[in-house]
């Protein structure tokens, strides 16, 4: 398995970084994110993260795993705005998850992990 080499501070293009414990982990170039669409990223410990950006350029990161089916597919869902808040709809059974809080909009008892994310 190969992970892309970390590029913190060495390139001019901004990159997307996740806060893991106390360190910022660089995932990829910001240009690889398309508004309205997600990408999946692999963390060093095997966890998967779904990264998104919206029209305004804000970035979001939540766990990639869809808690309703167990499949790692949330990055492939469609995003939208509900009452001013960003969400992604699972491509499998269409439950929606708030991209900032990780809470499921269709089932109060379910939430997914969220990550602090920045472009740097």
């Amino acid at each position: 398995m190969t992970l892309a080499p970390e590029t913190t501070g060495t390139t001019t293009a901004p990159s997307v970084q996740l806060l893991l414990e106390n360190d910022w982990f660089t995932v990829c170039d910001l240009t690889l994110l398309t508004p309205g669409r997600g990408v999946a990223a692999l963390l060093p410990d095997g966890r998967q993260v779904a990264l998104f950006t919206d029209r305004a350029g804000r970035t979001y990161a939540i766990d990639n795993r869809d808690p309703f089916t167990g499949a790692a597919v949330l990055s492939r869902g469609l995003t939208g705005t509900h009452r001013g808040r960003p969400y992604v709809a699972s491509p499998l059974l269409k439950q929606r998850f708030d991209l900032e809080s990780g809470r499921c909009l269709d089932d109060e008892e379910v939430r997914v992990a969220t990550y602090e994310v920045r472009a740097a």
Binding site: A72, G80, T81, G84, K94
Partner: protein, 865 residues
């Protein structure tokens, strides 16, 4: 052989027609099938079928489709249904019925539902070869056979309802057709002179010869014993080699007469208000064989159903009575609307007529009004649009003047009387006797919010269907009245319907979702990111119109890419564990051995699960996202292209092997299927589209369950639309007959583009056809007769689609930028998703489901920071 009644009481039903079947259902609903032994003696070789729709056999409905009998129902309720075994005699003293087979059944209750028989006037030659009646499926099969093999000219004796249907059928079989009616006008029972004149003109324009005011004196017979013509009462002769008698029916009461039951002067078993025979409390009579207390024998199905309910209720010791029924009818005869209701002939004392007549347009409308302004009845010919409302108003004073109810729009008819003006007691569905009050109650008390829910709840609209339009208006009105805002908008982002958005996109040439949202979205949605409902819907509209509005047609380009559901985004079908399946296009289901081998090799090399689909293709399961381009590179190289199994677009056009190989085939169905599949491939639509082409009437390709289905005839092709399989099966409706190749394609072009233009999001053609005002007739007017003048535009939209089609997968694998999204992880493009795993089953793979439940476990040997 004798079957004696044991401990359980026995009900014997004689006759299994429409009314007999309804009686059985009424017994079951009241739990009587559980407490009684039920024996049915049926003369015909097949169980109850829809006799009212008998003529639809000639437009392609098979006897099986006409059936009203669910054999599961018969079995479940333990009903002993004996087909082809009619009752021969009744011994009322011993309470026994003897069947033709010799079976003797004892009864506690006997129900006669023997129906009627066609009246054949006692003219010389009436039994000659080539003379038929028009009553059963067997009659129709015999007529069809004779017409195809030996006849060129047909004559129908009787210009009533069935006579006109029979004449239309003969014409459809390619015969020159005559109608001979003794009365001075057609349909003398239902319409008056003015209505008859309007009807006559329209029917003659269709190429049928009508002879009114003459009787049949003799059937002329040749040396071989077959019909050669008819001699009429005015002395003239008519050459014909096939004659259908359709001069009315008579109650079938011989069985009752033979056992001493009371029958009326002109026939019919005399019954009381509970449908019990007046002579014997153990015997009931229902349907066309019964003479009701009002002195009438009812030949319509709705009163028969009511009698069936009454008899069942009485047996269950409930109170119910049948005292007479409304003779209202609405028909579509040879494509002409004919309706009559209430006191259509103005027999009430002192009544007045309001008549509108335009014989040039074949229109005739008459209302019969009482002295006090009460609507008593009426006749509508040529346009029966107002029938549902008018019938429901019968017996009350309508809130607007009668003239305004019959004048055509634009001729001083400012008032459109809606069903909201109806009183609660007004009967909206006369088949099931459902009042407006009941329908309102379904919405207010039973929380129904859609027409299908109300249909299910009240049964309204599930009979002949003529009230469904009024039903829809009532449901909407009631929802609005009870404060439920009926928001017809597509979603939370758009207040417009899909159809309205389509028009905006087309008219203003809008090629971007964001522009549409920011300009036409709801206030609070503008500037936002939309939602998962409208994004794919708008994406589909833009894709459908791409060449015309100047948008990029490729679904993975630019902003379009972000609008697509994951299946469209990855050009494959997402499966439950996050892997994808792949369906290469196999047009018409025809494939060479070489290509078959390539699919096999690809599946083997990538370890994919393979399964044959219902659409005559091969589905390859278990591909990970990063494998998709590698798999498709091989498939494209071998000449395959995308099958669009992932898209709301044309899936497949199935075919049977057709004329080329099949001894029954009459056209080359495979070639047509391939042509159609290649023409419409990649066409984005509100929902998926399925099609099939059958090479003969045996229909092996199941075209009538498709969005558009084609069945070969000896003269060309019949086009069916709006069929569906799945959870809500619907048989397709015949849109047009005997089309040439070019005509067929042109009609499908128009039909599909009209559907794409006007359907709601995720609305299949079947539900669309049921929903749009005017239904099939409206669609036919638009796409066949071009009533809106848009056919040229519809055709050019399709021409642009065809000219601009490109294979999405070929484009993808040749474009590095597009390929870049087919990675498992943005930071580890070649690392397989660890939760996509497989285990073996039946020599293939299946998803490793336990892996999903522990999906977050650390990877073995996972890289260190």
């Amino acid at each position: 052989m004798t079957a004696t009644p044991g401990a359980t009481p026995t009900i014997v039903l004689v006759g299994h027609g429409m009314v007999g079947q309804r009686f059985l259902e009424a017994l079951a609903e009241r739990g009587l099938t559980a407490t009684h032994r039920v024996v049915v003696l049926c003369e015909e070789p097949r169980p109850a079928y829809d006799r009212v729709a008998l003529t639809s056999y000639f437009s392609g409905r098979t006897p099986e489709e006409l059936s009203l009998t669910d054999m599961e129902f018969i079995r479940e309720h333990g009903i002993e249904l004996r087909l082809g075994d009619p009752a021969e005699s009744i011994d009322r003293a011993a309470r026994e019925v003897t069947a033709r087979s010799g079976l003797v059944v004892g009864y506690d209750t006997l129900v006669l539902a023997t129906g009627s028989f066609p009246f054949v006037p006692p003219v010389p030659g009436k039994d000659a070869e080539g003379c038929f009646v028009y009553r059963t499926i067997e009659d129709l099969l015999a007529i069809e056979e004779f017409a195809r093999s030996r006849a060129t000219t047909g004559a129908v004796v009787g210009g009533g309802l069935l006579g006109l249907e029979a004449a239309g059928a003969l014409k459809g079989l390619g015969l020159t057709s005559h109608i001979v009616e003794f009365a001075p006008r057609l349909m003398p029972v239902q319409v008056d002179e003015g209505g008859g004149a309007a009807l006559l003109r329209t029917i003659e324009n269709m190429g049928l010869a009508v002879h009114t005011g003459v009787g049949t004196q003799e059937i002329l017979v040749g040396d071989d014993g077959a019909v050669t013509g008819m001699k009429l009462s005015d002395g003239s002769e008519l050459a014909a080699d096939l004659v259908v008698f359709s001069a009315g029916v008579r109650p079938r009461d011989q069985l009752a007469r033979d056992c001493g039951l009371t029958v009326g002067e002109r026939g019919g078993i005399t019954v009381d208000e509970q449908c019990r025979t007046v002579a014997d409390p153990h015997v009931f009579a229902i349907g066309e064989c019964a003479l009701a207390t009002d002195g009438r024998v009812y030949g319509l199905v709705a009163p028969g159903y009511e009698q069936a309910e009454t008899a069942a209720a009485t047996i269950a010791e409930d109170e119910r009575a049948f005292t007479g029924a409304d003779l209202s009818t609405k028909l579509k005869l040879l494509g002409v609307d004919v309706a009559s209701f209430g006191d259509a002939h103005g027999t009430t004392e002192d009544c007045l007529d309001v008549v509108y007549s335009d014989s040039r347009a074949g229109l005739y409308k008459k209302l019969v009004i009482g002295r006090d302004g009460t609507l008593l009845g009426g006749i509508l010919v040529g346009d029966a649009e107002a029938y549902g409302t008018l019938r429901a108003f019968t017996g009350s004073v309508p809130p607007v003047s009668p003239e305004s109810l019959v004048l055509p729009a634009g001729a001083g008819a400012p008032v459109q009387l809606g069903p909201s003006a109806l009183p609660d007691e007004a009967v909206v569905c006369s088949c099931h006797n459902v009042t407006k009050g009941t329908i309102r109650g379904a919405v207010t008390e039973h929380s129904c919010t859609t027409v299908p829910e109300v249909k299910k709840c009240t049964k309204a609209g599930t009979g002949c269907g003529s009230c469904v339009k009024v039903l829809g208006q009532l449901v909407t009105a009631e929802l609005e009245a009870s404060g439920v805002e009926v928001d017809k908008g597509l979603c939370g982002c758009f207040g417009q319907t899909r159809e309205e958005l389509y028009e905006i996109v087309l008219a203003l040439r809008i090629t971007s979702y964001r522009t549409l949202l920011d300009r036409y979205g709801r206030e609070d949605a503008r500037g936002g990111d939309g939602c998962e409902v409208c994004k794919p819907a708008v994406g589909s509209i833009i894709a459908s119109l791409a060449p015309t509005i100047g948008a990029e047609g490729y679904v993975l380009d630019g902003e379009q890419a972000a609008l697509q559901d994951t299946n469209d985004h990855f050009l494959a079908n997402l499966q439950k564990n996050g892997s994808y399946s792949i369906v290469p296009r196999i047009p018409g289901g025809e494939i060479t051995p070489e290509k078959l081998i390539v699919i096999g090799e690809v599946a083997r090399d990538f370890g994919l699960y393979t399964k044959i689909t219902g659409g005559q293709r091969i589905d390859l399961f278990g591909a990970r996202v990063e494998q998709l381009p590698l798999i498709w590179a091989r498939l494209v190289d071998a000449g395959f292209e995308s099958g669009h199994a992932y898209g709301k677009s044309l899936r497949t056009v199935k075919s049977c092997v057709g004329q080329t190989w099949c001894r029954y085939g009459v056209q080359d169905s495979v070639r047509m299927a391939i042509d159609l599949e290649l023409r419409y491939r990649g066409l984005r639509s509100p929902h998926k589209l399925k099609s099939a082409v059958s090479g003969c009437a045996r229909e092996c390709a199941e075209a009538q369950s498709k969005d558009f289905g084609i069945i070969a005839t000896s003269n060309g092709w019949n086009l069916y639309v709006g069929g569906n399989g799945g959870a809500t099966p619907r048989h397709a409706d015949l849109l047009a007959q005997d089309l040439g190749d070019a005509e067929l394609v042109r009609l499908i072009d128009r039909f599909l583009m009209f559907y794409i233009r006007t359907a709601d999001r995720l609305e299949r053609t079947s539900t669309w056809l049921e929903r749009i005002p005017g239904g099939l007739d409206h669609v036919r007017e638009v796409v066949v007769e071009d009533s809106l003048g848009i056919c040229e535009e519809l055709e050019s939209l399709m021409t642009a689609h065809v000219a601009n089609y490109r294979d999405e997968w070929a484009e993808t694998i040749n474009d590095p930028e597009k390929l870049s999204r087919f990675v498992s992880f943005v930071n580890a493009p070649d690392t397989p998703d660890p939760v996509v795993g497989f285990v073996a089953e039946r020599d293939q793979i299946k998803p490793d489901l336990p892996l999903l439940t522990i999906g977050t476990r650390p990877l073995e040997g996972s890289a260190q920071r």
